[in-house]
Amino acid sequence: METTAQPSEQNTGKITETAEQNLNKATEPAGQNADKILERALDIGEAMLRSGAEILRIEDTIIRICNAYGDGIVDVFTILSLIIVSWKTPDGRSITQTRRIYSYSTDLERLEELNALSRYICANRPPADEIEERVNAIMCDEDKNSKYFKLAGYVLTAAAFAVFFGGNIRDGIAAGLVGIILYAWDFVFASHSKNRVVYSLMSSIVAGIACIFTVNVHIGVNIDSVMIGSIMILIPGIGIVNSLRDMMRGDIITGILRLAEALMIAVAIAVGFGIALVLI
């Protein structure tokens, strides 16, 4: 296969800088490397699924990456916890790989970077090792400030929605304090949890107790508004939106999985705050 790599217009930032150098590198056609390429394509698929992408986007990305390195038929099946790819490569072999995904969260910045990366791969066909490096760089980069931004996110969301749903400024401050407590809770325990429903239940019990405490020490006035503010941090809004988008595009299985999980989390939140109210 001839290679006419062209830098894509849509690549931005650091990716464009190195695009020039990569034109000189020998771009390898699929053949002996097909296994490696498929593995890297699965890496990107997994990374996207972990960052909260829609199923169609993931399947599309994997097919495009494989076909950028060689013709042939690519079959992908993706649900929330599994990716299966089978590729009939140009030299006639059939390669199948699967990937089990255990945990996922939402990180929209990573999603965007992975999207840009896959465009770059399709346009420039870098060697497999380089893809691995870049995916690692995206998934492991921990900006020093990102912690503070996240903390600010917890505080601002809780405080603003406490006011939004009919509280006053003091309720906002109380909800902001609960946001800090929730951030600390997530910071310590989020990485240990396997089951998101049970974890949401525990988080909302903690948040509920914190809300009652802030009202008891007279920081907040209306317990209702403070609690609603902290509910808005926990509520699975993204799950519901993503489930709708998946179902609309024909991925009914994943849509139902996401919807079921979102509903269970919503019930768990209600139960958790209820337990806190009954306990104290």
């Binding site: 849509q10 909260g52 992408a53 829609e54 169609l56 986007r57 097919i63 038929i73 690519v74 079959d75 939402t106 990180d107 929209l108 910045e109 990573r110 999603l111 965007e112 999207n115 990102s146 931004f149 996240k150 600010a152 996110g153 917890y154 505080v155 601002l156 969301t157 809780a158 405080a159 603003a160 929605f161 006011v163 939004f164 749903f165 009919g166 906002g172 209702d224 609690m227 609603i228 509910i231 808005m232 941090i233 509520i235 809004g237 993204i238 519901i240 939106v241 993503n242 709708l244 988008r245 609309m248 595009r249 024909g250 919503a266 939140i269 209600a270 139960v271 705050f273 209820g274 109210l277």
Partner: protein
């Protein structure tokens, strides 16, 4: 007319500002790229504004949530094409002020008080709002997806191909 607008703004200014800050917080919570946050905040505030306009105009509960959700989706899909980013990035923060967190809480609270009638009513409203949001999002998204529909892969059984 201007007096009416002034009165409206006077009533809802605090709510709009809090929606703006809440949307900003939600963007930070889910790590939206810094250069996109401004568009998300505009979307969230716009959605809230339209929600309250619909509420003032006396639409039903379903329509009150469906119309802003549809407009938020339209905004998100439009921005996705202008700024060249996935539509989810703009859709999720824009739609978050509509999520019925308040009703969920009051439903739970009524259940604990043993007020079954109130709990049923509020629970029903929560579900109705969720359906309204879903229909709003789906209605607009479907139009966009029909324009750029699913590409055809895996063509094995077609004339002239293998």
């Amino acid at each position: 007319m201007t007096a009416k607008i002034a009165e409206f703004m006077n009533d809802y200014l605090a709510v709009l500002v809090s929606a703006l800050i809440g949307t900003l917080g939600y963007c930070l919570l889910f790590n939206v790229k810094k250069s996109r946050i401004i568009y998300c905040c505009i979307g969230g505030t716009l959605t809230t504004l339209i929600y309250f306009i619909c509420a003032e105009s006396g639409f039903s509960l379903l329509m009150q949530n469906m119309i802003p959700a549809a407009i938020a989706t339209f905004y998100a899909e439009l921005m996705a094409r202008i700024v060249k980013a996935p539509a989810t990035v703009f859709l999720i923060p824009s739609i978050i002020p509509l999520v019925p967190g308040g009703r969920l809480y009051y439903t739970m609270s009524a259940m604990i008080d043993g007020n079954k009638l109130k709990a049923d009513m509020l629970g029903g409203q929560t579900v109705l709002i969720a359906i309204g949001l879903a229909v709003g999002v789906v209605l607009v998204s479907v139009c966009f997806y029909q324009i750029a529909s699913r590409p055809r892969y895996n063509i094995r059984f077609e004339r002239g191909k293998r």
